[in-house]
């Protein structure tokens, strides 16, 4: 069974083993397991061992922070200076980061060991990690199935015990859904609580970096290490939300248990909620009436922002370049050959909904719908402390099962996207495995900047891994 950060901390501090020995163990596991799973795009064998030795020195001197010497894996859209950062795209196949993302700087200061960079859907666009230019990542629980996405590599690396924790990014569910599919804990923090400096942008008003961990306490530890206002991200904030918790009232949105939800997932999630009732929580049915519009709203806003964000990949500034006769040819040739199919589709979708004649009907309407979706949550949180439901409407699906039907893939994000639109924090907690042995998760949502409350509620039940 995988160790928690707290356990590793105690072992390192009591010299049961060194960070170097621990790092070697993880590197060995990566060597043995990752040929098949393919969670990593790059493994930093030499540097990781050097970082581990440095950490051991710090431990010897007693200069220890909670994460000193703990080995982690980082999603390949988060920059580590001097290392390739591909975002899962041919466009950035040979792009080397010239600075550290703010979250990476913070972890480096604590003396964290970086084992490598993990696979992802190209530019974080996807729900299965099948859209990576570098090949699919497999689910450690069933190699024929997807690990979820877009942070599938980070979730699979942790689930297969190839790191102690990992970082991902979540624009519409990209941390929570793979956490649910791979049986680990995953947090999407409140928008603005973690700096986005050094994260390759997909949809800037929705993107947020967050941790994967083996238990709620690990996720809290990593979140505490990376959060806070950063002068390099003007949308980052230091705000303390409402974190008091006395009598817990949990809201169950009726819209999250309707048509389209797998019956086994439904039963498992309702059982988990029942455990809260047994612990004295009050369970109340609530309504989020605009839920049914959230997915449409998300795909309009996310692709519109993506079409603008990805215009920087023009063959002049970064990475891949394909020459041509004219400047326009260079743009077109570079983008046509550098982007994968899903990315092109989303850029085109965003370009369409932003274009003259369609802007009001699609983009502007989506911005208004976003207000209504956020208001639903605000009204709900006047009555309840947390909202619970499923993370994914379906169990981990087979590789190739949904690639031909983009809409069915998008529907996998139905419960996770509203959270990003509203900017709320949410966590995915592993529940019992399905009859077939597949992971499934419980989705817990709280109000803005109430991560502390979220962790407290998530920790109330003794989950199997803790």
């Amino acid at each position: 069974m995988s160790k928690t950060i707290k356990e590793i901390r105690e072992d390192l501090d009591s010299k049961k083993y060194s960070s170097e020995e621990l790092t070697k163990d993880y590197l060995k596991r990566i060597k043995n397991e990752d040929g098949e799973i393919h969670a990593f795009l790059d493994v930093f064998e030499k540097e990781a061992l050097l970082e581990a030795k440095d950490a051991d020195e710090r431990i010897k001197k007693g200069e220890v922070s909670i994460l000193t010497g703990i080995p982690c894996a980082i999603k390949d859209n988060i920059l580590i200076k001097g290392k390739k950062c591909t975002a899962g795209s041919k466009m950035l196949e040979n792009y080397i980061a010239s600075y550290d993302a703010s979250v990476v700087s913070k972890l480096k200061k604590q003396g964290v060991v970086f084992l490598g960079k993990t696979n992802m859907d190209e530019f974080a666009m996807g729900s299965s990690t099948e859209n990576s230019y570098f090949g699919v990542t497999k689910n450690p629980y069933d190699l024929k199935r997807v690990p979820g996405g877009s942070s599938g590599g980070s979730a699979a690396a942790l689930a297969a015990e190839m790191c102690a924790f990992s970082l991902g990014s979540d624009t519409g569910g990209s941390i929570r859904q793979p956490a649910s599919f791979c049986d680990v804990v995953g947090l999407k923090p409140t928008y603005g609580s973690v700096s986005r400096s050094g994260l390759i942008a997909y949809a800037s008003s929705l993107d947020q970096i967050g941790p994967f961990g083996n238990c709620v306490a690990d996720v809290k530890t990593v979140f505490d290490a990376i959060k806070g206002k950063d002068s390099l991200d003007s949308t980052s904030l230091n705000i303390e939300g409402e974190n008091n918790l006395k009598n817990i009232r949990i809201g169950i949105p009726k819209e999250y248990f309707e048509e389209g939800l797998d019956s086994e997932v439904k039963e498992t999630v309702l059982n988990a909620i029942e455990q809260y009732r047994e612990r004295g929580a009050e369970i109340v049915e609530i309504s989020l009436p605009h839920s049914k519009y959230a997915l449409a709203c998300y795909y309009i806003i996310a692709t519109a922002e993506a079409s603008a964000n990805l215009s920087r990949f023009d063959g002049i500034r970064y990475g891949f370049k394909e020459l041509g006769e004219t400047l326009n040819d260079i743009y077109v040739n570079t983008r046509t050959n550098g982007f994968g199919e899903e990315v092109k589709k989303r850029i085109m979708l965003g370009t369409y909904t932003l274009s003259s004649g369609y802007y009001d009907a699609y983009y502007k309407q989506a911005l208004k719908a976003r207000s209504l979706i956020k208001k639903d949550f605000e009204e709900a949180f006047e009555k309840v402390d947390a909202i619970m439901g499923p993370v994914s409407p379906i169990l981990p699906f087979k590789i190739g099962e949904k690639t031909e039907d983009p809409l069915s893939m998008y529907l996998a994000d139905i419960y996770t996207t509203p959270i990003n639109l509203a900017g709320l924090p949410a966590i995915s907690i592993p529940l019992e495995l399905s009859k077939e042995g597949l992971p499934q998760g419980l989705h817990i949502i709280t109000s803005h900047f109430s991560e502390e409350k979220l962790f407290k509620i998530a920790s109330l039940i003794q989950w199997k891994k803790i």
């Binding site: 309407q365 719908a369 976003r370 207000s371 809409l407």
Partner: protein
């Protein structure tokens, strides 16, 4: 269903070229998604404000003090004080 001409127009605006053999598939995929998101049009949004950002934030300002940034490691090739880049314009 959006028209084939429209698909080509969006591709042009997106600075992308679509292979002839792939146009049908993209036309079908885009149409399917646009049809799904068109559901939003049913929503009554009179007097509802547009929201482009989920958390209310204030403008962030700082003192206007110039600082020097050393970007030498970003430069692939340099000649005296000039950057050497690939030619991007045609000779007339």
């Amino acid at each position: 269903m959006i028209e084939k001409q429209e698909v080509l127009k969006i591709a042009e605006l997106s600075k992308l070229k679509i292979e002839e053999s792939k146009i049908d598939k993209i036309q079908k995929d885009l149409s399917q998604i646009l049809e799904y998101v068109s559901d939003l049009k049913k929503l009554d949004t009179d007097n509802i404000p547009e929201m482009s950002h989920s958390v209310t934030i204030k403008n962030v300002e700082r003192e206007d003090i110039p600082s020097k940034y050393n970007g030498d490691n970003l430069i692939e090739e340099k000649q005296d004080e000039y950057l050497v880049v690939k030619k991007i314009l045609k000779d007339e």
